[in-house]
Symmetry: C2
Subunit: 104 residues, 2 copies
DNA sequence: CAGGAATATAACTATCCGGGCATGTTAAGC
DNA sequence: GCTTAACATGCCCGGATAGTTATATTCCTG
């Protein structure tokens, strides 16, 4: 499960940057407060998890996000999401009932 | 961010167990392959993250899941979810177009 | 083909974290 | 009030990992 991959703030930040547009390693190094090898290492982890993919452009590697890899996490989250939306629905109903009562 | 909290498989397993029904520490110890202090330690992390809450029943502490704490993660996921659902929609459209073409 | 640019990998270190054992704490029951 | 049950906490250890510097690799450019 790629939860562990996302546990690292720098990696989430990389994904957020790549979500706007694809970026080369050098660009990411400029945006993050990390050494170039540090960024490369995180990109390696993200690649292995299928969360990003790389395209070669001369000496540069341009990375892009691969959002489908997050479906697994979304799937794990789904039943919990049902739980809190049900709570919200119940609260809604409750407030509606109160309002109903107020208006007689 | 509680991604780091969920990175631990045992903690996700605890949440999944508590999603069915609330459980005491002892029950969790029986269900997991972990020592009692190990379980307590994970529960502590989950509590600090607001992911579970405890109710006192005599000497026992009964834990339940607090799904709202996962909304933060869901919020982070949301823009990516939009991305892959858009991809699916595009694929749908593509396949429909192919089918349309086949039928003339 | 020499030099430099862009990135990956290697090697090393410091830190964090999960695991267990031993022990502290609180509540029940006699 | 002493014992036992249920749980939390402290302490220690081994493994994982994120960060760095140094080096290897690849590819363009002159």
């Amino acid at each position: 499960m790629s939860f562990a991959v996302l546990a690292e703030p720098a990696r989430r930040q990389i994904l957020d940057l790549l979500r706007e547009r694809e970026r080369s390693v050098g660009e990411l190094v400029r945006d993050l407060r990390l050494s170039q090898p540090g960024v490369s290492k995180h990109l390696r982890v993200l690649r292995d998890a299928g969360l990003v993919s790389a395209r070669v452009d001369a000496q540069r590697r341009v990375y892009r996000v691969q959002p489908e890899a997050l479906e697994e996490i979304d799937a794990w989250l789904a039943p919990y999401r049902r739980m809190w939306t049900e709570s919200l629905a119940a609260l809604d109903a409750h407030l509606a009932a109160i309002d109903e009562g107020r208006r007689g």
